[in-house]
């Protein structure tokens, strides 16, 4: 087969005349698609602190605190797998298609959740008490609760 010199010239000249293939990032951003997995967002009004996202998250990025009534996500651990969105029984989690801004220090995004568990109705003492239909009451307390406090040390750079 024939060998040719300078075959790259056409490609290189084309690159010279073309607009840059990159975008100047903070000033301009690459368009996102409808399907892009950007970040997890929560509608805190619908959340009932059921802990399912916390337990099923493959990387343990989500931490739900039932006593403090907060839902927290460590964006650096989240792998955008969409699993929490799939398993959420109240459909309060959503995968937004834009990315969060880069962080300057490691921290969790903590969202307060205004949820008050319904008070169980008083029952006659003789009847066996049924299990509450609220997942908050039905689920056992997790043995090792993760630390929800954001780490106080900021990174050096």
């Amino acid at each position: 087969m024939k060998q040719k010199p300078l075959t790259m010239t056409r490609v290189a000249l084309g690159s010279l005349l073309r607009k840059p293939a990159t975008v100047p990032y903070p000033a301009a951003r690459k368009p996102v698609y409808l399907a892009t997995r950007g970040h997890i967002a929560i509608e805190e009004d619908k959340c009932n602190l059921c802990l399912i996202c916390d337990r099923r998250c493959p990387t343990g990025a989500i931490a739900v605190d039932r006593t403090g009534k907060t839902w927290a996500i460590d964006r650096l651990r989240c792998i955008q797998c969409n699993h929490c969105v799939d398993v959420c029984p109240r459909k309060c989690l959503a995968m937004e298609n834009d990315y969060t801004t880069p962080m300057q220090m490691k921290r969790s995004d903590v969202v307060p959740v205004p949820f008050t568990p319904p008070q169980p109705k008083p029952k006659p003492a003789a009847a066996p008490a049924p299990t509450s239909d609220s997942p908050l009451q039905a689920k056992e307390e997790r043995p090792g609760e993760r630390n929800h406090e954001p780490p106080d040390q900021s990174s050096a750079d």
């Binding site: 169980p120 008083p122 029952k123 003492a125 066996p128 008490a129 299990t131 039905a138 056992e140």
Partner: protein, 135 residues
Amino acid sequence: MNAPAQTYSEIAPERLLEAANAQRAAGSRLVQICCSRLQHFELLYSFSRPHTIEHLRICIPDSRVALPSISSIYGGSFAYENEIHDLYGITFTGMNVDYQGHFFRTAIPAPMAVPPVCAAPAPKPNKPQPQKEPT
């Protein structure tokens, strides 16, 4: 799906070389060697020809049993054998390239030689039944 038929046959460790020779004579390609740590150690040698895959299963009770290396028959098997040696601690005799345990540099020697941790499912904890009236 016209996937090739897969056959599994169990052979004794002594007959491994003989079986590998037969595969070689039949023109098979060594696809892989896989070691599994169950309650015993189980090795699966896979050979493939067009339209068939044959798996030879060898069970050994513990990792102290040395196996003959098939690298004199299939030259590329040393990678699998060294991997199994480094991860499971099984010794192969007569490897054509023997790394003496330095192929995979793992922090713990033979890290995968421990039996499965969750072989049986943990019994589901019963839902806490409130015994008394909630106060």
